[in-house]
């Protein structure tokens, strides 16, 4: 029953996408648009098919930066959010800085990162972490602060220490907040890695895109974009799965909601 419902729910999106692709193909065919202006979807899929192994090689490199950066972002977000929850002055001092950090255009910062940290994996991991860290930290801080004060009072009357309260009340309560942040972060992470590669790398999807763009192979460039989209979707789904695994108490209520 549930499966059927989810297919039904996805159907409009699939139909929409397919009609866009069909229309695109039709326009390219009838208007005879040259490939270097707008390649037809069929050409893009041929490019994707013919270069699938090359694309996978580049994807592997990008994925390492994505996972590394995301892991680092999760770690730092947890540490900082917990520290900010524990010491209010720290929150007052740090929170505005976090917001400011997100106003810095990554594209301008990235060349500096290369100069400081070289052209290896590290700067890409840091750029991904920088992009992903914000939605995670902000949602966690929000989650911690939204905990029912009565629950904390109750724990305190039972002489629970701060760590105990954090572990058994605040953390579980903040989990849904965290996972909605993670979904955003996971989707951005791929983009972050590509920006990092764009500015200096040996391989990766960003490099693939630049190379094909500079040799005027638009269909190959768009094939890489499809890979990036798929990768971002996978990251999003993984974040959802992690949430499902980590919050068993949420599963039932979700099922009930979906009927």
């Amino acid at each position: 029953m549930k499966k059927l419902a989810s297919i039904k729910a996805n159907l409009p999106a699939v139909v929409m996408l397919m009609s866009i692709v069909a229309l695109w193909e039709l326009v390219c065919l009838t208007a005879k648009i040259p490939e270097y202006v707008l390649p037809a979807p069929s050409l893009i899929f041929i490019a994707l098919w013919e270069n699938i192994f090359l694309l996978l090689d580049h994807t592997k490199i990008t994925l390492i930066a994505v996972l590394g950066g995301l892991a680092l972002a999760i770690l730092v977000a947890f540490i900082l959010a917990m520290a900010m929850d524990r010491w209010k002055p720290l929150k007052q001092a740090l929170y505005p800085v976090l917001v400011i950090s997100q106003a810095v255009p990554i594209i301008a910062l990235a060349p500096l990162m290369l100069i400081w940290f070289g052209v290896g994996l590290l700067p890409k991991v840091l750029i991904v972490a920088l992009v992903c860290f914000f939605p995670l930290a902000v949602n966690l801080v929000e989650g911690f602060s939204q905990v029912d004060p009565e629950a904390i009072d109750l724990m305190q009357t039972m002489h629970a220490d701060r760590w105990m309260i954090m572990r058994s009340v605040q953390l579980p309560f903040a989990m849904p907040y965290f996972f909605s942040g993670l979904k955003i972060a996971a989707t951005y992470s791929v983009l972050g890695a590509i920006i990092g590669e764009w500015l200096g790398a040996r391989a990766g999807l960003g490099i693939y895109m630049l190379r094909t763009m500079h040799s005027y192979r638009l269909s190959h460039l768009l094939a890489a974009i499809i890979v990036v989209i798929i990768l971002s979707l996978i990251m999003f789904k993984l974040a959802e799965l992690a949430g499902w695994l980590a919050m068993p108490w949420k599963r039932e209520s979700n099922n009930q909601m979906e009927g």
Partner: protein, 331 residues
């Protein structure tokens, strides 16, 4: 919600994070413990036929013979700074960048001219009738909108007593120049050896006004190989070995362009094969051209372009050109 007694959520997270942290070094630990000196060369653009000699030297084992392990990395936009700070030993740059970098106290030095003459110029569709810089009047130019570009157009037009103010400058940035001259503007600045060849393959008919034909001062070196003052002072032997192998790479590209093209394609299979092969054929006799040997740089070329930059107020002082380049590693 608070009734739940034992939460397992951190366990699953910690596992994920640990997995990633543990797996990451495996992904990166590809370098084998070996003797050769590891060096990095930074490219200022995606792989193309300007860099063929490097790939050829790798594939033919020329670097290996000099006990070097060369890694080539694409780093458009920050080559000079990274070479100057020692993040990489060598890089690809061009005379303009080296000049500006040195005037900003970024101590990079040009150690070889990869292509002896400037192969760039202004391209337009034949039907627009732009046959000389005088015809720029009333036309639009699509490019990065940098002061140097404007000065180049101005200089060329002044030589023909044409009025620069009648040119419409449009910023088109990264947009493919061939699309720019088709749709956005009348003329654009291209490197003939790549974009010009691409136009030939597409059977687009172009008018091409070569910079060096119009203004000798603009026959500057582009691209050049650079290193840092630091490395030159500390390890000239390394540079000599690198340059011996690189020279052999370019000499092979001159003699056997079709082989060299395959070496480039082996490292960058993303490129269009036809474009690479044709571009390689076109460039083969232009790497060395009329120089006594490949890579040699002439002080007059450095001085003429610096003077030109100075005359057009693009630099505030004349650089010490003798320090900007050296031929000492081209023995």
């Amino acid at each position: 919600m608070f009734k739940t007694k034992k939460m397992q959520f951190p366990a699953c997270f910690v596992t994920i994070i640990l997995l990633v942290v543990v797996l990451m070094p495996i992904g990166c630990a590809t370098e084998e413990p070996e003797d050769p000196d590891e060096i990095t060369v930074l490219l200022d653009w995606s792989p193309n036929t300007n860099y063929t000699g490097l790939y050829t030297a790798i594939e033919e084992g020329f670097y290996h013979d000099e006990d070097l392990k060369v890694e080539i990395i694409e780093a458009p936009g920050s080559v000079a700074q990274m070479v100057a700070t020692g993040q990489a030993e060598f890089g690809i740059s061009y005379q303009e960048e080296v000049t500006f970098a040195r005037l900003s106290d970024i101590p990079v030095v040009s150690i070889a001219a990869i292509i002896q003459h400037n192969t760039s110029g202004f391209a337009s569709l034949k039907e627009r009738g732009i046959e000389s810089p005088a015809d720029f009047e009333g036309k639009s130019y699509g490019g990065w909108g940098s002061p140097v570009e404007e000065a180049m157009i101005k200089a060329l037009m002044e030589n023909h007593d044409a009025d620069f103010d009648q040119v419409d400058i449009i910023t088109t940035g990264e947009v493919d120049s061939l699309i720019v001259i088709e749709r956005e503007a009348d003329f654009a600045w291209i490197y003939y050896g790549w974009t010009g060849i691409e136009a030939e393959l597409k059977e687009m008919e172009l008018n091409f006004i070569e910079l060096r034909e119009e203004e000798p001062a603009l026959d500057y070196y582009t691209p050049v190989l650079i290193s840092s003052e630091n490395l030159i002072a500390e390890d000239p032997d390394l540079i000599e070995r690198f340059m011996r192998a690189t020279t052999n790479g370019y000499l092979l590209a001159i003699d056997r362009p079709e082989t060299a093209a395959q070496h480039l394609l082996a490292h960058a299979p993303e490129l269009d094969e036809e474009l690479v092969i044709n571009s390689q054929e076109w460039l083969a006799d232009k790497y060395q051209a009329d120089a006594d040997s490949w890579g040699l740089q002439d002080q007059e070329t450095w001085e003429a372009y610096s003077r030109w930059l100075y005359e057009f107020d693009l630099i505030e002082e004349m650089p010490d050109v003798e320090k900007a380049f050296t031929n000492e590693f081209l023995k």
